[in-house]
Amino acid sequence: MFKGNFIDNLPKIYGTYTGGFIVFILLMAIAEQAGMTAKTIGILFVAFTVCIYAFIGYMSRTVQVDAYYVAGRQVPTVFNGMATAADWMSGASFVAMAGGIYFGGYTYMAFLVGWTGGYVLVSSLLAPYLRKFGCYTVPDFIGTRYGGNFARFCAVVVLTLASFTYVTAQINATGTIASRALSIPFELGVWVGLVSILLCSMLGGMRAVTWTQVAQYIVLIIAYLIPVFWISNKSGFGFFPHFMLGEEVARLGALESQFGLVKNAAADIKAAGVPGGLKSIAVSHAGVPEGGMAAWKFISLALCMMVGTASLPHILMRYFTTPSVKAARKSVAWSLFFIALLYTSAPMLATLSKISLMDPNLATGIIGKPIAEIMKIEWVNSWINVKQAFIADFNGDGILQLNEWFMRGDVVVLATPEVAGLPYVISGLVAAGGMAAAMSTADGLILAIANALSHDIYYKIIDPKADVRKRLLVARSLLIVIGAAAAYIASMRITSILGAVAWAFDFAMSGLFFPLILGVWWKRATRQGAIAGMIAGLGSGTAYLIYVYPKFMGNAPWLGIDHLRFGIIGASVCLVVMVIVSLMTEEPDKATQQMVDEVRIPSGKTILGKQH
């Protein structure tokens, strides 16, 4: 089934798979009617999908170097788009994004713009040229373009730092979802998540990750869109929410002024005993904060996320797998198309969730109603019991005010189907979707790190004479070691001090963005310049992060550049240093310049051979 004309059969294979998944959802719905418990449905959803991914991972096993590193460079445009979308959309995108918009409104939506606009940079500045280069990993490009093991080594350091920051959060997410769905302790859930992740990637490397990511995309997008459309239709907000929620957004504005947006004092929150991580709505949903500083904060966050996107190796390496340069370009467009399906739905889900809770005229509304009555609602009780929601009657009037209802951001995605009265089968589906999103991103990240260490450090620097069998053995062993290290850190639950996912973007842009684009767009860029740029960029960015992050030194941010935006400092320093040092050193030799010329045209052979 996975042999011969497998590529030609892809639409049929994934079409059957999608049909099968829908049949499974229907079977679960019937089972629910027949009295199957919610717990069993949750377990079946997660177990069934993970088994399918593991099966695909096993079927895609390989002993070929180019299949292991770049999926044999035969992934068709649209399928690579789906795989990239799954690679890209993390557990955080799936579970936390709608919650972020729910609490942060317009200001938070800078992330939406930032996490999509970066693909314009990827397509116009990088992806087609890296594909023409024919590298296996991102440091492979840096090492060959600039020459020398030290440049390669610096790129591996940046890659590892950025990707590792990101991957612990993903394993944490798989652990949370696995523990909730399978009713096991979190620490165990993390290891169950890791085993599932490794099953997808270990035997087949990039090839296996590609075909599981396509499968995971299909699950996660179904799991995100069905609830959004269903809730909108069931509650009568319109059959196509994306085009029909304008009235609800306006209504939210009216309700905000009716209830008042009150920011609770930290002392009050503490005195009431609100569990950590829970928030109340204190920011307008669609209103734009006044002033130049607010606009700058929006723009600077979007800038960091965009430039970071174009520097993250686990995304860039997806475009090494297409059959041609032309396909790499088109594939970026498809990636963003598939990402946009989810990203444009997240604000709609946040709107639906908010209006369901806030509008006292709706049956689902809780704000402005007596607390005694609300406490009788089943979903309120169950989420309060697990400390994901909380009621604090600050003014003691027995009525729930907007600033008295606390919940965790994740609850928006996880509980809204329940609030709207959808059957439990939908909650099971959402759990499977979240698992798929977190697993696919974790797989891509772990593979990016392991490939860089096995190909760039072990094969290119330590033992260039190693045979294929030994190289793949090292690659697979590293995959396990890195996965285990990430799972160990995640299981210690110290993620709160590890910082935000946004850091990964800032680290990547500080050290890699300019060495990558100048490698293609500026022939004069030299090895010394690139090395100095990477070191100075990563160093200054990290130093600024330590200077500004509240849990480290906690100094006042300069020009509003806080710990989410430190990449602006790192990347600027990197650019300046790289240009100055390049101009001070001797211009690259003829061979290097010719290589850059070759990279710039799509036709002809790749710079690095098919097997290298």
């Binding site: 317009y106 939506m109 800078a110 939406l112 713009v113 999509t116 606009g117 693909y119 314009v120 940079l121 397509s123 116009s124 500045l125 087609p128 994306h242 085009f243 929620l245 304008g246 009235e247 957004v249 306006a250 949903h285 669609a286 209103g287 734009v288 904060p289 006044e290 607010a294 606009a295 929006f298 723009i299 979007a302 800038l303 965009m306 041609s324 340069v325 032309k326 370009r329 088109k330 970026v332 467009a333 963003l336 198309f337 946009a340 990203y343 444009t344 604000p347 709609m348 767009w521 010329d597 710039r600 045209i601 799509p602 036709s603 002809g604 052979k605």
Partner: protein, 85 residues
């Protein structure tokens, strides 16, 4: 000027135009967020709409457009890939 140089000049021109459009939808309009929000589109306040859907759709369309334009440029100068490359 050689064929390669002309090809690269056009490629660079396309890159600049693409990034200008990117700048408008990614940054410029959000510098005037509060002004935009006074008008509305499909019932949504405009600045809210642009970051929820408008700019994202613009980026998707922009990349497809860019990919097609670049293919035309490659064709014009005879740098299209062949099957056996």
């Amino acid at each position: 000027m050689s064929n390669k140089e002309k090809h690269w000049e056009k490629t660079r021109g396309l890159m600049i135009v693409t990034l200008l459009i990117w700048f408008v939808f990614g940054y410029l309009i959000f510098m005037f967020g509060s002004d935009l929000n006074t008008s509305s589109f499909m019932g949504y306040p405009l600045a809210y709409y642009m970051c929820a859907q408008g700019s994202i759709i613009a980026f998707v369309v922009l990349i497809f457009w860019f990919a097609n334009r670049q293919e035309k440029i490659d064709e014009e100068f005879g740098f299209t890939e062949k099957e056996d490359d």
